[in-house]
């Protein structure tokens, strides 16, 4: 079975290569078939492998395709390692990826660069699969950068708009900042372990470092830097909202479901190092907590449908970080999976709406779509409910609840983290339902083009179902105690034990969470359906306006970076455009020319002066003779 491993990433790559080479010549249907088919087959292989894996429960599958290179003991391979953790990820990537590809064939049907789109998408899926299946950090890094490239290409897909190109560059560059930190982490790891093989690092790390070792801390923080960049966490989160410039399926696949969770994957994958560096782990938790709040507030204020979702994504990944930070590894991964379902769903729905409304993304110009697009409405509602973690019925409730619970009751948890998570949950349900109400309720403001076709609705429905039932594979103690998911991950990731004291009262906290989320829905209802005048009056107060502006701009991070880094860099770079060092050399040349001018004055052409020259020479010589 392990021999099939390479097929999973290879198929999308093959699709990408085919599309790059022959894309312009292929008819649209064939191109679409290649694009969707490659991911589809890959998903199929994944499922086959996954079944096998679940049936036999090996520790892992491993396959070395070839030795990448080998220099003085540094021998990373192009090799794949499949364990439960990777399995979850590749399942999400291929499966959700497949659905989104399918959806895209309809969504992008009118695009001129149809094949380019699928080429990039396939390339992305392939890279992402490499990322999660890599058996060494260097190969992981390859996938890591590969998805960054695809993200860049797809954000800038409509390249004619300069802003899109800008957003794409921003995404790439900011993530690259994180990647650089990560690269340094890799150097350190290599220096200490003599290898970048993930499994050997994980097994050797406890021997190399005692808990709390500074080396571990540094490595962990550096890896965290990479993770933070990719996952749009504080302080490198600013690129993600802008990344919505890409086509919506891209946002769904890359900037919601898969790529942005690469950071989560990385931290989880290297969990041993984080456990050896409690400070770093705490940092992860704090970053998650702060990010989820900040992004939540920003999401509240956005009008662009996709930007709301983008901030929501940042916020939800913040939850995952929080989970990882408190050591609730499997909870984080669980939330990742569920989030992938419902966020992809939400984006796809949003895409359907946007497509139907002539690429209108401003929620203020939407409204009343409930009856015009019933399928979209219902699926969106399900997704929203899952996002808002409405209790009992949605998968989001179970995954988020688990995180909140461990944030409080886990051995690394504390009340502050919990409070942040809870506040975030409240915000989440407000902005989520604000979105629902603004879009689907009220009066219709824009003419509807054409209702979504089947290739759009089928993925929606599938994802909606998953967003509902996905949660039932992992239920809390008092809810039947289903632990399928954490069992699956147990061989890979350490479990977490909750504080005994609190465990008795777990239901109380669940109730609290439920209340909070429902409260959020109610607040949204209050402001956007029941009595909009409340909102209007609120909007008029200057403090609120200022706050609104502040949140709207993502807490001013963009402006901060702009003023602190980008502008000075551009300024100094332009200042030195002509290269100050060069002027030293041109100065030398000028000096030589100056000497030439002076010297050539002596060549006056007058005989007497020449005689004088000889006399001066004579004096010089005699003086030297006399003096020495």
């Amino acid at each position: 079975m392990a021999d099939l491993l390479w097929l999973i990433p290879a198929l999308p790559f093959l699709g990408a290569v085919l599309l790059v080479l022959f894309g312009t010549k292929l008819p649209r249907t064939v191109a679409g078939l290649v694009g969707v088919g490659s991911v589809g087959i890959s998903a199929l292989v994944t499922i086959i492998l996954g079944m096998d894996f679940l049936a036999t429960r090996p520790a892992f599958y491993q396959q070395e395709v070839w030795q990448w290179f080998s220099v003085a003991g540094f021998s990373p391979s192009i090799g794949f390692h499949l364990d439960a953790l990777s399995l979850v990820f590749i399942f999400v990537i291929t499966f959700v990826g497949f659905l989104i590809h399918l959806y895209s064939t309809a969504y992008m049907a009118d695009e001129a660069d149809f094949s380019r789109f699928f080429a990039c998408m396939n390339l992305f899926v392939g890279s992402m699969l490499v990322l999660v299946m890599a058996d060494n950090l260097l190969l992981l890094y390859l996938g890591w950068e590969g998805v960054g490239l695809c993200s860049y290409l797809l954000i800038g897909f409509w390249y004619k708009e300069p802003a899109n190109g800008y957003a794409a560059r921003k995404a790439f560059i900011i993530t690259r900042v994180g990647d650089t930190a990560m690269a340094i982490g890799l150097f350190m790891l290599f220096q200490l372990f003599g290898t970048l093989n993930i499994q050997s690092i994980l097994s050797d790390a406890p021997q190399v470092w005692p808990v709390g070792a500074e080396g571990a801390l540094l490595v962990a923080l550096l890896l965290l830097g990479g993770a933070v960049g990719k996952s749009g966490q504080l302080p490198l989160q600013t690129w993600l909202p802008d990344a919505m410039a890409g086509p919506t399926p891209v946002s769904a696949l890359i900037h919601a479901a898969t790529m942005v969770t690469a950071g989560v994957y990385l931290i989880t994958r290297m969990f041993v190092i984080f456990e050896l560096a409690p400070v770093a782990q705490l940092t992860v938790a704090i970053i998650g907590a702060v990010t989820l709040l900040i992004a939540g507030f920003s999401a509240l204020t956005q009008y662009d449908l996709k930007r709301v979702l983008a901030y929501s994504t940042i916020s939800q990944i913040g939850y995952m970080f929080l989970a990882l930070g408190v050591g609730a590894w499997s909870a984080g991964i669980f939330h990742f999976m569920i989030h992938a379902f419902f966020k992809a769903l939400l984006f796809l729905c949003a895409g359907a709406i946007i497509l139907a409304l002539h690429h209108e993304q401003d929620m203020r110009k939407m409204g009343g779509l409930r009856h015009k697009m019933p399928v979209v409405f219902w699926t969106f509602l399900i997704g929203a409910a899952s996002l808002a973690a409405l209790p009992i019925i949605t998968a989001g409730f179970y995954s988020k609840d688990q995180i909140l619970w461990y944030a409080l009751a886990g051995e690394n948890g504390n009340i502050w983290l919990y409070a942040a998570g809870l506040a975030g949950a409240f915000l989440t349900s407000i902005y989520t339902f604000r979105m629902v109400f603004l879009t689907f309720y009220g009066e219709s403001k824009t003419h509807l083009e054409h209702p979504p076709g089947r290739r759009i609705t089928i993925p929606l429905i599938i994802l909606a179902v998953l967003s509902l039932v996905g949660g039932f594979i992992e239920l809390p103690h008092n809810f039947g105690h289903v632990v399928l998911f954490s069992d699956l991950l147990a061989p890979v990731l350490p479990g977490i034990s909750a504080s005994e004291v609190l465990a008795a009262n777990e239901w109380l906290f669940q109730l609290l969470a439920a209340v909070v989320s429902l409260g959020g829905v109610f607040v949204a209802y209050l402001f956007y359906i029941k009595s909009p005048h409340l909102l209007h009056s609120l909007e008029r107060s200057p403090a609120a306006m200022r706050l609104h502006r502040f949140w709207f701009s993502g807490w001013g991070f963009d402006a901060l970076y702009d003023n602190l880094l980008v502008r000075p860099y551009v300024f100094f770079s332009n200042l030195n455009k002509r290269d100050i060092i060069d002027s030293f050399y041109t100065g030398l040349a000028r000096m030589a020319e100056g000497f030439h001018v002076i010297f050539s004055q002596t060549q006056s052409g007058m005989l007497r002066n020449y005689v004088m020259g000889i006399v001066v020479g004579a004096i010089m010589i005699l003086t030297i003779s006399l003096l020495l």
Partner: protein, 486 residues
């Protein structure tokens, strides 16, 4: 005068007779071609007569001359250069209106003077050789009388040369006064007797340096150089740059080695200053110069500075390096002025940058030759100039003259600029198409094109395979009296 003396002086005698014969022939029948033929034949004959002398063992014709390997080599070099210059001159003067015949007499006489210099071992022969060279040169420089510049150059050279000769003579007199002898070996012996050099002797040397330095056109006695090069006919400029300087340098080496002037810090200091100043002044003056002949003049100043670096090394390797470099420099300079001569027309010499604009496209062959020459002057590989410069640097490094060596490097870089500036001008694209090949008479064609081709071949040949020349030089130097002495 014994028969042996005659045999050993054969090249010089041949030249003397050639001058006389030409005078007689002129009296009978003025014909450029015939006169030229006699000249060429006599140069060749003189050169061939050296064959007999190739294994000479420092044959002294006391007290004035000595014929040793060094002398034979330098005479050969001078004769070859003169021959080539005479070939260029033939092509050059054939197209001028001036009476041409006397030119050859003077050319021969001045080569004779140069040859005398390199075999001199006595102040008298030194002085006479120098004067024969100079007096003939006065006329050669001003030979094209219709040109204002020619006269101007002639008078400048005459006054300054006589002026510096006076210094030389006064210096010699002082040396003679303090040592009581005028032979080099005698002076060396007298100097060896002194604990410390008497001031008078030192002053004598100092004044002699002025006279020698003038002829070598080193700073600060260099000022005449550009004007004279510019005013003189191109072949004569080549002659001054090569034969005249080569002869004097040969003399300087012989004298300095004989008396072992390297022991005296004063003299070393003077020469060091002169060398550095020459390199800098030459190169900086040439830097933005627009007149090609002046550029070549300034470049010759700096090249003399380079040569002095190897000269100051003061050992066998230094002499070898000077000699080698001199060969390369001869070839290159003759070639460069040859191109100038070839491009010159009746009214004036081709000396302005504009005359060379787009030359590559108009006359590719000529441009290529000139490029090769300039690259050699700049010391770029595949040319003799490169090996020469390498040799000089090696000699300098060997005796650890770091200051001089570094200055040389620095100046090579400055020098590059104006050499490649000329090349760049030649390579500029112009609208003008390729000029139709000039319909030259075969004799002229042979004289100029043949000479230049030969020079390029030599240039590249030595540049690629210097071994032959190196071994020739070192074998010739084996009998060089002062070196053999040490």
């Amino acid at each position: 005068m014994t028969q042996n003396d005659f045999l050993h002086l054969m090249p010089l005698l041949i030249l003397t007779f050639a001058a006389l014969i030409i005078m007689l022939v002129i009296a009978a029948w003025r014909n450029h071609k015939i006169i030229y033929a006699i000249t060429a034949i006599s140069f060749v004959a003189a050169f061939l007569s050296l064959y007999e002398l190739q294994d000479v063992q420092a044959y002294a014709i006391a007290p004035l001359f000595v014929i040793d390997g060094f002398a034979v080599f330098y005479i050969g070099l001078i004769l070859l250069a003169s021959l080539l210059i005479s070939m260029l001159s033939y092509a050059y003067f054939e197209q001028r209106e001036e009476q041409k015949e006397e030119y050859y007499i003077l050319l021969i006489l001045s080569s004779l003077g140069a040859c005398t210099l390199v075999i001199s071992t006595h102040f008298a022969s030194l002085f006479l050789g120098l004067e024969v060279l100079s007096v003939a040169l006065y006329t050669l420089i001003a030979y094209l009388r219709s040109r204002e510049r020619s006269d101007e150059a002639g008078i400048k050279y005459l006054i300054l040369a006589a002026f510096s000769s006076a210094f030389l003579l006064f210096g010699m007199a002082l040396v003679y006064f303090s040592t009581g002898t005028m032979t080099f070996s005698g002076i060396a012996a007298a100097m060896a007797g002194f604990q410390e050099l008497p001031l008078l002797l030192l002053t004598g040397f100092g004044l002699m340096i002025i006279g020698i330095g003038f002829k070598l056109s080193v700073v600060p006695f260099h000022m005449w150089t550009p004007d004279v090069y510019e005013g003189a006919p191109a072949p004569v400029s080549a002659f001054i740059a090569t034969v005249s300087k080569g002869g004097v340098l040969g003399l300087l080496i012989r004298f300095f080695m004989e008396v072992d002037g390297f022991r005296y810090p004063v003299l070393m200091l003077i020469f060091t200053i002169v060398a550095i100043a020459s390199m800098f002044a030459g190169n900086l003056l040439a830097l933005m110069q627009q007149n090609v002949k002046r550029i070549l003049a300034y470049s010759s100043i700096s090249h003399l500075g380079y040569l002095l670096v190897a000269f100051l090394a003061g050992n066998q390797m230094g002499v070898e390096a000077v000699t080698f470099y001199l060969v390369a420099y001869f070839i290159t300079t003759v070639g460069a002025f040859g191109v100038v001569a070839m491009l010159s027309d009746k009214e004036r010499d081709a000396e302005l940058m504009d005359d060379y604009r787009g030359l590559l496209w108009r006359r590719p062959w000529t441009a290529t030759v000139f490029t090769a020459m300039l690259l050699s002057l700049a010391g770029i590989p595949l040319t003799a100039g490169f090996v020469g410069k390498f040799y000089i640097l090696a000699a300098g490094v060997n005796t650890q003259l770091w200051l001089l060596v570094v200055m040389l490097v620095l100046n090579s870089v400055i020098g590059l600029y104006y050499y490649i500036k000329i090349i760049a001008v030649m390579f500029q694209q112009t609208e003008a198409g390729q000029e139709p090949l000039q319909k030259l008479r075969p004799s002229i064609l042979f004289a100029s094109v043949g000479t230049l081709s030969l020079l390029v071949l030599l240039l590249v040949g030595i540049g690629v395979y210097p071994t032959a020349l190196v071994s020739l030089i070192s074998s010739m130097l084996e009998t060089f009296h002062p070196v053999a002495l040490r």
